[in-house]
């Protein structure tokens, strides 16, 4: 009797508790190649409504284990990614790769701590996070609230040039790049399917944001185009695009900025003029153009005036 009453009481309590502890819901992912799953981010900046789920994130399933590639933009984004992995496979998450330091890619990292993965990043990533991580956390907390913002994890494996991750016979080739989108970009090549996970080295539809080097980015793109890959996963844009064809828009935008800024510099034009004149022919070709073009021109001008 007592036991039954207790059980009934527990059941009732459980019903009350469920809404508060609802398991994170998996989200929709696209299997862009065998065993490679991508969740497409929205073309927005972080808001309380979108949970900073604005970047393309996902995972690669190998015979023995899973590599998460970019753990997401917030706690919720990371937890839902983790639930999605668990819904697709029971293999353990051995690696969490952070493609660069920007918050929309890595603030879901804390959701994976219980898996005890190796957190992988560019050799400069740790330093960048020490320098700017707290700043990112504060900013994201202002938007999402501290409880929902999530947190990054420090990398435990730093890639100086190249590294390989073995998912049980499925080899991922990691490459640490020179300054391009940022100064801590990592790309991943899945040999088995010829898929390049370019992350933010490749923006499609959404305007690229230059936080590293315009000239460097063009150089890294040229090298990436030579890789044995037929498809790529952009950091922002569709979940998968043909490679290297999909690099064309980004290259055109960068070459436009470079040639217009160089022409202005040759005439003795200054940065104030550049930010209101350069790249305007590209407006209409990119989402969020007005939010980022002026900033891109500033970064590029500062770089090119010393050529």
């Amino acid at each position: 009797m007592t036991v039954r009453r207790l059980a009934a009481g527990l059941a009732a309590a459980w019903l009350l508790v469920i809404p508060a502890f609802a398991a994170p819901a998996p989200f929709a992912v696209t299997e862009v190649a065998s065993g490679i799953f991508v969740r497409q981010g929205v073309h927005q900046d972080a808001t309380a409504e979108n949970d900073d789920a604005i970047a393309n994130i996902g995972f690669i399933v190998g015979p023995a284990s899973v590599a998460v590639i970019d753990p997401g933009g917030s706690l919720d984004d990371g937890e839902r990614l983790r639930a999605t992995v668990q819904a697709k496979t029971d293999r353990p998450i051995r690696y969490v790769v952070m493609t660069h330091a920007h918050p929309d890619h890595i603030f879901g990292g804390v959701a994976f701590v219980a898996d005890h993965p190796v957190f992988v990043g560019h050799q400069r990533l740790a330093g960048v996070l020490v320098e700017r991580g707290e700043y990112y956390r504060r900013r994201l907390a202002e938007i999402l609230g501290a409880a929902r913002a999530g947190d990054y994890e420090m990398p435990t494996l730093l890639v100086t040039d190249r590294a390989q991750l073995d998912l049980g016979g499925r080899i991922l080739d990691l490459q640490a790049h020179g300054a391009a989108h940022t100064d801590n970009d990592l790309s991943i090549l899945d040999r088995q399917t010829g898929t390049l996970w370019a992350a933010d080295l490749l923006f499609v539809d959404r305007i690229p944001a230059i936080d590293g080097s315009l000239v460097g980015w063009l150089k890294e793109l040229a090298a990436l185009k030579a890789l044995p890959a037929t498809r790529a996963v952009p950091g922002h844009g569709p979940p998968v695009v043909p490679w290297p064809a999909a690099a064309a828009d980004e290259e055109r935008y960068f070459n436009t900025l470079a040639s217009e800024i160089r022409a202005l510099l040759a005439k003795g034009g200054d940065i104030e003029t550049a930010v209101v004149q350069v790249g305007l022919g590209e407006r209409g070709k990119w989402q969020l153009f007005d939010d980022y073009n002026g900033r891109n021109v500033t970064v590029a001008f500062k770089e090119l005036e010393w050529e």
């Binding site: 938007i143 936080d211 003795g268 940065i271 003029t273 980022y292 900033r295 005036e305």
Partner: protein
């Protein structure tokens, strides 16, 4: 609702509101009064309309590189200009002392901005009057922003200079305008080496002296608020072929000196 944008792609979140963005106008004005007393003591600082204007973007695209234009528009001869960024750790960004070879009508430079701030430019006339122009700028994080993406390159290039013609119309047709670029990381002690994870010791330009023949154009006393690779656009009285000499001293006691022919404007 105040809209805060977390920029997806950017590390230097230049346009983001900061805690100080909430500071009230009264608090900003109180800060300016403190700063004014610290720099000028009890001297009277008058509203500068008709004498000095200060322009900068309302919202900076890059808090580590905020272009500033100071225009001295009045008839009175100005002997110095003080540029202050009220909320910066070291608010007095630079003091320009002008000599006889300067055309002071339009002066430009680039600064770092640490938080939403009032900027002030104060002109000191020959007879000792002080006149102020004010501008509010939304920018944050410029002082601790990574100083450079490539410290090795920055040190190789340390002290190199360029003197460039300026395309924009000169405010005075009988004067040349030029832009001086100085390659210097201007480390302010708030940036970190990302590989060693140690703070990079401060090393910044303290003094820039530009002369034409024996005549002074200007001497700039600078501080940590000038942007990396500082740029200064200024005017020169008269059109003469006499070359310019630039001498730069930094806080590591290094001196860089170079002479330039006056560049001609491109097409």
């Amino acid at each position: 609702m105040r809209r805060i944008v977390l920029i997806a792609g950017l590390a230097a979140l230049a346009t983001i509101g900061s805690v100080r963005a909430e500071e009230s106008d009264a608090e900003r004005q109180a800060r300016w009064q403190d700063l004014r007393h610290a720099v000028f003591g009890d001297r009277r600082v008058e509203e500068g309309a008709g004498i000095i204007t200060l322009d900068a973007p309302d919202r900076a695209l890059d808090a580590a590189l905020v272009p500033v234009t100071i225009d001295l528009v009045g008839p009175a001869k100005v002997k110095a200009v003080y540029l202050m960024i009220d909320e910066n750790p070291s608010p007095l960004a630079g003091t320009f002392h002008f000599g006889p070879a300067a055309d002071t009508r339009e002066l430009r430079t680039r600064v770092r901005v640490d938080a939403y701030t009032l900027m002030h430019a104060v002109a000191e006339t020959e007879d000792g009057g002080l006149f102020v122009a004010e501008k509010f700028v939304k920018a944050a994080g410029g002082c601790s922003a990574p100083s450079t993406k490539d410290q090795k390159l920055a040190l190789e290039r340390l002290g190199q200079m360029k003197l460039k013609p300026v395309a924009e119309a000169s405010p005075s047709p009988d004067a040349d305008r030029v832009q001086l670029l100085i390659s210097h990381p201007n480390f302010n002690g708030m940036q970190m080496d990302q590989l060693t994870r140690n703070y990079t010791p401060a090393r910044y330009i303290q003094d820039v002296r530009v002369t034409r023949g024996d005549a002074l154009v200007f001497e700039l006393e600078a501080d940590i608020s000038l942007s990396e690779d500082p740029a200064i656009t200024f005017g020169l009285t008269g059109k003469t072929p006499v070359p310019l000499t630039v001498e730069v001293h930094d806080s590591a006691n290094a001196t860089f000196k170079q002479s330039f022919e006056i560049p001609t404007k491109g097409t």
